[in-house]
Symmetry: C2
Subunit: 133 residues, 2 copies
């Protein structure tokens, strides 16, 4: 009936692995494969359960990878909640936009459409300079 979160070895291992791979989009099986050989490694069910819990806590963001045909999870960098991002469709590189680049658009859209952009969910897709060549 309480709402206590037990600290188990499995959860620690999972979270540590995620934190070591903050920049990656991990599937449940990615994590399984990497913890596989360790003592008291978590089962796939535990991994899925804990990932969903972390999503609810806002620690992870859940996505879906067409290519992998599976859900992927990425670490939510709180510092990134303030600015927008460009994501290259080819190499996946993420560029953090300086605020001033976007602020004009935000206020224009607010005035004209009375629409409040969500800069956590919004991603601007395109092709980065390296991939153009």
């Amino acid at each position: 009936m309480n709402n206590i979160e037990y600290k188990t070895k499995q959860r620690k291992m999972i979270l540590e692995y995620i934190e070591k791979n903050k920049d990656k989009q991990l599937t449940a099986y990615d994590i399984l494969q990497n913890l596989y050989l360790k003592d008291e490694n978590p089962s796939i069910a535990t991994i899925y359960r804990y990932l969903e819990k972390l999503v609810k806590q806002g620690i992870l963001k859940k996505n879906y990878s067409e290519k992998k045909n599976a859900a992927t999870f990425e670490y939510v960098n709180k510092a990134c909640a303030n600015h927008y991002h460009l994501k290259c469709e080819k190499c996946g590189r993420i560029i953090h936009l300086s605020n001033e680049v976007f602020s004009d658009l935000e206020s224009k859209i607010d005035k004209k459409y009375d629409f409040e952009i969500d800069n956590v969910k919004t991603v601007l897709y395109g092709i980065c300079n390296e991939c153009k060549n």
Copy 2:
């Protein structure tokens, strides 16, 4: 060995249904359910196969619905390839941005990051005026 596309009754039915529902995100089973009672209705396998074909042709865009736990397909409106869109996270409403609102940002980003935004894939998420209240 040829690349001919045969016109079959099943494909006509599927495409007609999609065109009647241009504004919706359809799953394969949505289509199945609606063609179900008709003569020579397509099987689920045919629907999946044809949907993927339409995606390859650029007629549909494939998405993934967390809620439905299934792939969804939406009609690609060619006219929308020229401008950006706002999408309300609550009601799903889509607002078509007038070009001038975005053009500033595009050139700023191009200059500063040498990044070319893809206005087909990019969607700006947020909350629309109606949902604010």
